[in-house]
Symmetry: C2
Subunit: 189 residues, 2 copies
């Protein structure tokens, strides 16, 4: 890999003390050197509303879509709320999977975009949420990396009070994941 890879990170939880946001940062900390990372905070987005969209995407939505288009790949990190992804995250995908000026999902920012998924949770590491997220991203025509899969179980025990990762096996998983993700981001779309 010689060329730079721009990765946009999205955390599915708005909470400051989110283990999923901490997991995103822990993944960023073990990224390959050619990867340049940034974040988009979903707190800025409004709820999807077809009437609003018909008037033109609001400014925060335009910024979100532009950030996705500029990125070579997305890293989405999600908790599990009631056996699925948070409404906050689904709402972002509802916007990101649409191009009202083009051909809907076909020309949307998420279409063809390489995506990596991570999740942190309790006993099952938010496995149902991440699996469901993968199903949704089929419909947005995103290229989700199939392997390696990382589900961080018992997240509470793997980060310290400052939300720093303290678990070495998890750090190794993240290192392998990010190395594979750098390769995946370069795949032809």
């Amino acid at each position: 890999m010689s060329s730079q890879i721009n990765v946009l990170g999205i955390a599915g939880s708005l909470r400051k003390g989110s283990y999923n946001r901490a997991l995103m940062h822990a993944a960023f900390a073990v990224k390959p050197p050619e990867m340049i990372v940034s974040e988009f905070d979903l707190v800025h987005l409004p709820f999807y509303n077809g009437d609003v969209e018909a008037q033109g995407d609001p400014e925060p939505v335009l910024l979100f879509k532009e950030a996705i288009r500029r990125a070579d790949a997305l890293l989405i990190v999600t908790p599990e709320y009631h056996r699925s992804i948070p409404g906050v995250l689904k709402n972002a995908l509802d916007w990101g999977g649409r191009d009202p000026k083009g051909k809907g999902v076909v020309t949307s920012p998420l279409s063809g975009k390489p995506v990596g998924l991570l999740s942190a949770g309790g006993a099952a590491g938010a496995i149902l949420s991440q699996t469901h997220l993968r199903q949704i991203l089929v419909e947005t025509r995103s290229n989700v990396m199939p392997h390696p899969q990382v589900f961080v179980a018992m997240a509470r025990q793997k980060f310290d009070a400052d939300f720093q990762l303290t678990d070495d096996p998890t750090r190794q998983q993240l290192t392998d994941f990010m190395a594979a993700f750098a390769v995946w981001a370069h795949k032809p779309k």
Copy 2:
């Protein structure tokens, strides 16, 4: 059924010209006489945020939860966005399935609540969305009516320009659904 049944309707789309909102109104139009219906518009809710919740549920969330608790049953009507329910609706369930002052999901407004589901969409009538909604509502411990199932396919052809239902077979389906729902709402929880 002699006693009154209070049903709270929730449409999963914010759009004014939503076929799902129209479907909810078409269902209300063929309700049994003992059923009293009202609506909660999800546009009033903020995004779920654990930090905000920790400060106490915001006023719109308190109103939403109180409306659910007061209702004998909920009628949730959902479109399908990217193979699942809208983020707007999932966000409402993220709030409604929690009781921060009590025992979480066990004492949440959605726990034990009788629920009926309807959906309208394209070729498949939002069947994946409604199916996924049913999975989520297992986790909130809601009592979702299993049968009859109504998926209104090709909704665009079944409502007129004023969003009035024009399709008699669908009206019959809704009539049967609402009669069964009145019985379901009375079941011991």
